[in-house]
Assembly symmetry: C2
Homo-oligomer: 231 residues x 2
DNA sequence: CTACAGTATTTGGTAGGCCATAATACGATT
DNA sequence: AATCGTATTATGGCCTACCAAATACTGTAG
């Protein structure tokens, strides 16, 4: 999102986000990075106050988040932040494996150097974020790595699906990347994906991508089952 | 939608569902089976009148359908029924291939006879629906075939994703199943999936599932590109 | 200490109104 | 007649206020 507004720009202004979209982003973010914890009730009127908007807007936002799977609605009790159980998390990782594997294979089969270059750029950004202990940066750059994987072969729908699912496990992601040695192994696994793509090895690229999320899934499972009993 | 309401006296009328959900289903159905056509504007106040509910409800419904991809929102112009372009449809079929292939493989690897039995039941229901020219039945039973595939190995999330995507191409589905010889080839392809599962051949099951949606995708593409120029 | 009645909270849903913007119709001016 | 404002309308976005029903809470009477 660059602020391009120079010459020849018939496009004068930004889409002017509606209040609703602003609120949606705010609440989603609040959930995703833990300001609202799983199981917390999301009382409409409280949200109105906190966001400074009307119930109309809040209700639409809650509906939207509900269909994203971030919010669950107990009948006659109201919306709460969805709880992520371990089984669901595993399934989400599995689906990501299938789709990212597919995208990786397509990238390899296309065999365009631009793809490899773009992926390598993201990858090195990830490595440097790890060096700086910038965990938010790691997440963002990992995301852009995968975005490249999907969009370079024009798989926008699949990318949308992956994104939709990913928000639901976001807090897991931020835990997995902080685990021991993940700073080395994570990029190494992703590097394998890139290597296979460079070789034009579709099968290998797919396997490497699936291995990467499988590893993440295993870590997530360990993290989840370690913290469940404590809670 | 069965009209079961007679006996069972206690069973008064427990809507369980909120008005909102009722309205959501109604509108979704109206879109899915073509009462509202792609590109049609969905004017809030008109919908209020047609559904007999308040704007609040209508707006929530529209938001929900928007996040399902059935409705698009033009800034400053309002919601319209989403247009399905051919590229997007192909991507949806591709994703279904990946996920249904995954599910089929898992079914084969589990190797439980109940799965095979359940799938065969759906399959024969499909065949008999074809015999009766009951196209709605074909769709419903096909859906239940795949539902079995996913839920028998507890992949509810993936099934949810497939469902989400499927509504967007529903009218394509209803056209593909009506094409020449689809009454024979469709079930034959699905039968191959079942056979592979029975053999415990994960690889084969995956391939068969992917072949089946690939065939559907090819037909859909033909149908779409045939009707586009006319329009 | 329990049971129960009353009270508060909160959702689900309704009604209606206000404002901003886009499109369209309608003039008025040249 | 063609063009250039200017009402009007339609509509989305947003708000306030209200009500009914379900749920949770609380204090009191027995």
């Amino acid at each position: 999102m660059s602020g391009a507004l120079k010459d020849a720009a018939i496009r004068v202004e930004r889409p002017a986000k509606t209040l609703r979209e602003l609120a949606l982003d705010k609440v989603r973010e609040a959930i995703v990075n833990g300001y609202f914890r799983p199981g917390d009730r999301l009382v409409e009127r409280d949200l109105c106050a906190q966001l400074g908007v009307s119930r109309t807007v809040v209700r639409e936002v809650l509906r939207h988040l509900e269909s994203e799977g971030l919010v669950a609605n107990l009948p006659n009790k109201g919306p709460i932040v969805a709880q992520l159980d371990i089984e669901e998390a595993k399934q989400i990782y599995e689906i990501r494996g299938a789709l990212e594997g597919m995208a990786a294979r397509l990238c390899a089969e296309r065999g365009s150097p631009e793809i490899v270059a773009a992926l390598e750029e993201s990858l090195s950004a990830i490595r440097s974020s790890y060096r700086d202990q910038d965990m938010a940066g790691v997440l963002a750059n990992t995301s852009s790595f995968y975005q490249t994987l999907f969009t370079m072969v024009d798989r926008h729908v699949a990318w949308g699906v992956v994104n939709l699912l990913t928000v639901r496990i976001n807090h897991l992601r931020s835990m997995t990347i902080k685990t021991e040695r993940r700073d080395i192994e994570g990029p190494a696994q992703m590097s394998k994906i890139v290597d296979a793509i460079r070789r034009g090895d579709g099968e290998g690229a797919q396997r490497a991508a699936m291995d990467h999320v499988a590893a993440a899934s295993a870590i997530a499972e360990a993290v989840l089952s370690a913290q469940k009993p404590a809670e």
